[in-house]
């Protein structure tokens, strides 16, 4: 039983860590801030969420588990909002997406060519 | 012989004037100038009290009385009654009585007459305390008190700049001298362990043997010379004539200026009769005598003439005291007595003339004898005494002092010549003051002169009469006053035989005749003499009086330069200097104590732990190199984050918990604040200053690391933490030891801490909410200046 838990925990940790790593990699490799947000707010959140759950599993304790889940839910609530606010702010401040971004529906709303 | 202990009435006698000072203003408000009559009773009573000591003292008895004042520091309020102190006490209270009366008439109708009275009384009390003082500290206290009161009296007419200047001058010179005296006294106390004058006098060689004789002597002389206006400190005294005449008559002729002489005489048994003493005193005294008389001749203002002769007389007294020669000392005592009487009288005469005729310029005065007969008589008597003519006490004094100087081994001649010249010139002044205004054709003055009221006449008449009486009763004078005083000076019971008429033709008599002759001769040539001296002074063009102003403005200018240098006003400079000292503090002691740590071995951190360190370092670098404040703020988050991880990795969850919160909130608040700030994006630092500040920074970090490392290499006493661990749950019911420490074991710290938090909140509120007032115009000016500066 303990052994199984250990294995599961280990796997979750590794996978979570890899997701986190991917997120940071995306942060480096992706071209503009908007794309980087994708990496951070998704892979990152999933990764750390997984690892938190790993701790919950490892604890084998309802209290811990429930708390961990509550935590994860909390991240799932906050992460997108953070990303959204930042993207909105960046765009409103005038930061342009990279050149590859062909379609920009917001362009004419925020900066109408008058 | 040991002094007899007497009851406290003498102490009360010293305090009486202070009481009078308290009531004086009220009394004056009721009785106007006639309050003088009532107030004069106080010094009169004091006079009679001390008169009671004359006979026993003349039999060689001495008395002490004491009240504990600050016993833990051995300070008593104590008096020592012997010949010297009795004589002075009588002069102070006696002359004081008539000064009070005189002041009553002189400042009649003056709005602050009451205040004037109380200043006078304050001074009187201080002076009594000084001359009777037995305890060195209390003596000094009264000494300084005389300086302070004289400051107030000189500046009494404070709206005039001259008065203010004179007052400051007197305060600086005499007060400054007082500091020397204090140092001297404290040295005496720590050298001898004695604090009472009487006990010191009981063993006269105690100071000379202490090995500190030289510094003590110099320091005491520093006090005495400044107080008694010895050259080159004489300049403040004539300026002090800015004070109303009663003050000049009382403080600056009869009493205060003699405090220095008193001190020299008092300490003669302790400090005198040494080569040093017999060199310094005669030298300075002699110079002062000559300079004083010459300057006096140069003057035309009655008061100034008298003032300079006072300087001269003080010089003469110091010179005589400096001989440590019994006969000369006897002369000094006699002259002291004589001078107080005639000078007091003459000052009051001068004041009366000024008061009645409206001028003190001797050249504008003449033929007043018919208008002011009584004053005239008093003036003559006093003047003759000053001129040293028989049958006045002044004559007797001169005889004896010539006798003394003539007999003072090899330097006797020089001294005698000095004395003769001085006395001759003094005679000139005496004549000029006492005779010139009254004889000759009547010169009309702006006020039509006529005899002054009783209050103004009483003083001069009585004092000059006393001068005559003491001369006629020379023998009694000798027995009652001179002998006992001399005993105090030589430190053993001495009797003198003073007589008015010389028994045989001897050196002193001849010298007197020479003096008189020269004097009269000079008097006829007064105007030419005056012109010559004036010319000489013009050629010199500088005097200590001018020097004083240069000293004051000099020290002020210097201080303002120094202050601008050390308090430059630039925050960055402040920081740099401060941190230079921090660097020194953390490096130097370690170097001196050689407490550097042993070479540490590489710690066995795990891979990810190194990772955390790397992040921390990167975070720090990020803050350093960040071009803009925004980057800097974000980077600030990194190192804070790393610190939190470090706490976690070393088993401090609460810390990393708090650190995470606090760090993020700091960043948040920074962001909130920064939303409004537009700041320079760059940290402008020239390479030079970057290197310089960098070195300071590194030295601070290095020093602290080394110290910390050295400490952590030592074994550690975990007693406290063991205790907390032991009882955290067992007694304090908490499993989180850190939290238990915070709320229980060391809860009081936390109470203070939350006080800080609450106050911080309030501070920020006060900062943000209170609107800044539109600043004053000069602030505007400064603002623009600082803008130019920037």
């Amino acid at each position: 039983m303990i052994a199984v838990v250990d294995i599961i925990t280990g796997v979750m940790l590794v996978v979570g860590a890899l997701f986190a790593f991917v997120a940071s990699l995306g942060l480096i490799r992706l071209k503009d801030v908007y794309m980087r947000m994708h990496a951070a707010s998704k892979a990152g959140t999933l990764g750390s969420g997984l690892m938190l759950l790993a701790l919950a599993v490892y604890a084998l304790d309802l209290a811990v588990a429930t708390r961990a889940i509550a935590g994860v839910v909390f991240f799932l609530l906050t992460a997108p909002i953070a990303a959204h606010l930042l993207a909105k702010a960046a765009y409103a401040a005038g930061y342009r997406p990279c050149a590859d971004t062909k379609k920009d529906a917001l362009e004419e709303v925020v900066r109408p060519k008058s | 012989m040991t002094p007899a202990v007497i009851d406290d009435t003498t102490l009360l006698a010293v305090l009486a004037p202070f009481a009078a000072a308290v009531v004086a203003p009220t009394l004056t408000r009721w009785l106007k100038h006639n309050a003088a009559w009532v107030l004069a009773i106080v010094p009169a009573l004091v006079f009679f009290h001390f008169a009671g000591f004359v006979l026993p003292v003349s039999e060689g008895k001495t008395f002490v009385a004491a009240k504990a004042w600050a016993p833990s520091y051995g300070v008593n309020f104590s008096v020592y009654v012997d010949g010297l102190s009795t004589l002075f006490a009588l002069l102070i209270s006696g002359i004081g009585t008539f000064i009070i009366l005189y002041a009553g008439g002189y400042l009649k109708g003056h709005p602050q007459q009451g205040r004037f009275f109380s200043f006078l009384f304050l001074f009187m009390g201080a002076m009594l305390g000084l001359v009777l003082g037995n305890n060195l500290i209390s003596l000094f206290i009264f000494w300084e008190l005389t300086s302070v009161t004289s400051f107030l009296l000189i500046g009494f007419d404070h709206l005039r700049e001259a008065s203010r200047r004179a007052a400051i001058q007197a305060l600086v010179v005499t007060g400054g001298g007082g500091l020397f005296l204090l140092a001297g006294f404290i040295l005496i106390i720590s050298a001898t362990g004695e604090i009472e004058m009487s006990t010191l006098l009981a063993s006269p060689d105690i100071i000379k043997d202490s090995g500190l004789y030289l510094p003590i002597l110099l320091l005491v002389l520093g006090g005495a010379f400044t107080k008694s206006a010895q050259f080159p400190f004489h300049f403040w005294l004539p300026n002090a004539m800015e004070a109303p005449t009663p003050v000049s008559a009382f403080l600056h002729s009869a009493t205060m200026v003699k405090a220095g002489v008193y001190l020299l005489m008092r300490m003669h048994p302790l400090l005198g009769d040494t080569v040093l003493w017999m060199t310094i005193l005669p030298l300075f005294g002699g110079i002062t005598l000559i300079v004083g008389t010459l300057l006096a001749v140069r003057q035309t203002d009655l008061k100034l003439m008298l003032a300079y002769t006072t300087v001269a007389s003080l010089g003469l007294l110091v010179m005589l005291t400096g001989t440590s020669h019994e006969k000369a000392l006897e002369g000094a005592v006699l002259y002291l007595l004589a001078h107080s009487l005639f000078k007091g009288a003459l000052f009051m005469v001068a004041g009366t003339i000024d008061h009645e005729a409206g001028t003190r310029d001797v050249t504008k005065l003449g033929g007043l004898r018919s208008a002011m007969p009584v004053t005239f008589v008093a003036a003559c008597l006093a003047g003759l005494s000053m001129a040293g003519l028989p049958p006045f006490i002044g004559f007797v004094a001169k005889e004896v002092l010539y006798y003394g100087t003539w007999g003072w081994f090899e330097f006797g001649l020089i001294l005698t010549v000095t004395a003769v010249v001085g006395n001759a010139l003094m005679l000139v002044i005496g004549a000029a003051v006492a005779v010139k205004p009254f004889f000759g054709p009547r010169i009309e003055t702006l006020k039509h002169a006529h005899e002054g009221p009783v209050l103004l006449i009483a003083g001069p008449v009585v004092l000059s009469m006393t001068g005559l009486a003491l001369g006629l009763l020379a023998h009694t004078t000798g027995v009652l006053f001179v002998g006992p005083t001399l005993s105090s000076l030589v430190g053993s019971f001495t009797q003198v035989d003073v007589h008015l008429w010389p028994t045989k033709i001897n050196a002193p008599l001849i010298l007197s005749l020479i003096t008189i002759g020269t004097g009269i001769a000079l008097f006829t040539q007064l105007d030419r003499l005056r012109a010559t001296i004036a010319h000489v002074l013009q050629v010199i063009g500088w005097g200590p009086d001018k020097g004083f102003d240069q000293f004051v403005s000099g020290i002020v200018r210097f201080s303002s330069r120094l202050t601008r240098f050390v308090q430059a006003g630039s925050m960055q400079t402040y920081m740099i200097i401060t941190f230079i000292f921090v660097g020194l503090t953390v490096l130097v002691p370690g170097y001196l104590a050689n407490s550097w740590p042993a070479m540490p071995k590489v710690p066995d951190y795990r891979f990810y732990e190194w990772g955390i360190f790397v992040i921390a370092v990167l975070g720090l670098i990020a803050v350093l190199v960040s071009k803009t404040r925004l980057t800097a703020i974000v980077s600030l988050g990194i190192q804070g984050f790393a610190v939190a991880l470090i706490f976690m990795m070393f088993g401090a969850p609460d810390l990393s918990f708090t650190q995470f919160m606090v760090e993020t909130l700091s960043v948040v608040i920074l962001a909130l604040v920064m939303t409004r700030l537009d700041l320079l994006p760059q940290d402008h630092r020239s390479t030079g200053s970057a290197v310089f500040t960098g070195l300071i920074a590194i030295s601070v970090g290095l020093g602290l690391s080394l110290t910390l490392l050295a400490i952590t290499q030592q074994p550690f006493d975990t007693r406290l933490s063991d205790f907390f661990t032991e009882y955290s749950r067992a007694i304090a019911h908490g499993r989180n030891i850190v939290n238990v420490i915070l709320v229980d074991f060391r809860g009081f710290d936390t109470l203070g801490e939350i006080a800080v938090v609450a106050l911080a909140g309030l501070c920020v509120l006060a900062l943000i909410r209170v609107k800044t007032k539109p600043e004053k115009s000069e602030d505007n000016a400064r603002q623009t200046q600082s803008a130019e500066a920037g």
Partner: protein, 139 residues
């Protein structure tokens, strides 16, 4: 930040955080946490609330002026040390009142009161600072 998305969700987040902060406060004596951290969490909650829905609504929500709350915290923090006076013990000697409600054991103690004081002080002061700064931006 006038955006529907944020404004809609923020109040619930704040409520959640306040709840959580109380939890952190109460368990502080036995697990990491305590008044200070709890206070900080609550303060951040209010800050988010303020950023999303405006300072005015926060001020209305907490009824009292934050500094008054902070002062009250300080007040009871100091008071918590006094009961020992009546048992002729020294200042801040902890007093415990332990009783059982159902299956859980409830421990009321002066340290707990003290910790609550800490909590209130931190909430009050920090949120006061945050709100004051917010307001400046609003205007």
């Amino acid at each position: 930040m006038r955006t529907i998305i944020f404004r809609t969700i923020a109040p619930y987040l704040s409520a959640l955080m306040v709840l959580f902060s109380v939890f952190v406060l109460l368990r502080g004596h036995n697990e990491p946490g305590g008044g200070f951290i709890g206070g900080l969490i609550a303060a951040s909650a209010l800050a988010i609330f303020g950023i999303a829905c405006g300072v005015a609504s926060v001020r209305r929500a907490i009824v009292f002026h934050p500094m008054a709350i902070s002062a009250f915290g300080l007040f009871i923090g100091a008071l918590a040390g006094i009961p020992s006076f009546f048992f002729s013990q020294t200042f801040m000697t902890s007093q415990w009142l332990i009783f059982h409600l159902g299956d859980v054991e409830v421990a009321l103690s002066t340290p707990l009161v003290f910790d609550i004081g800490v909590y209130l002080v931190v909430v009050g002061s920090i949120s006061s600072i945050a709100l004051a700064l917010e307001e400046r931006e609003a205007d």
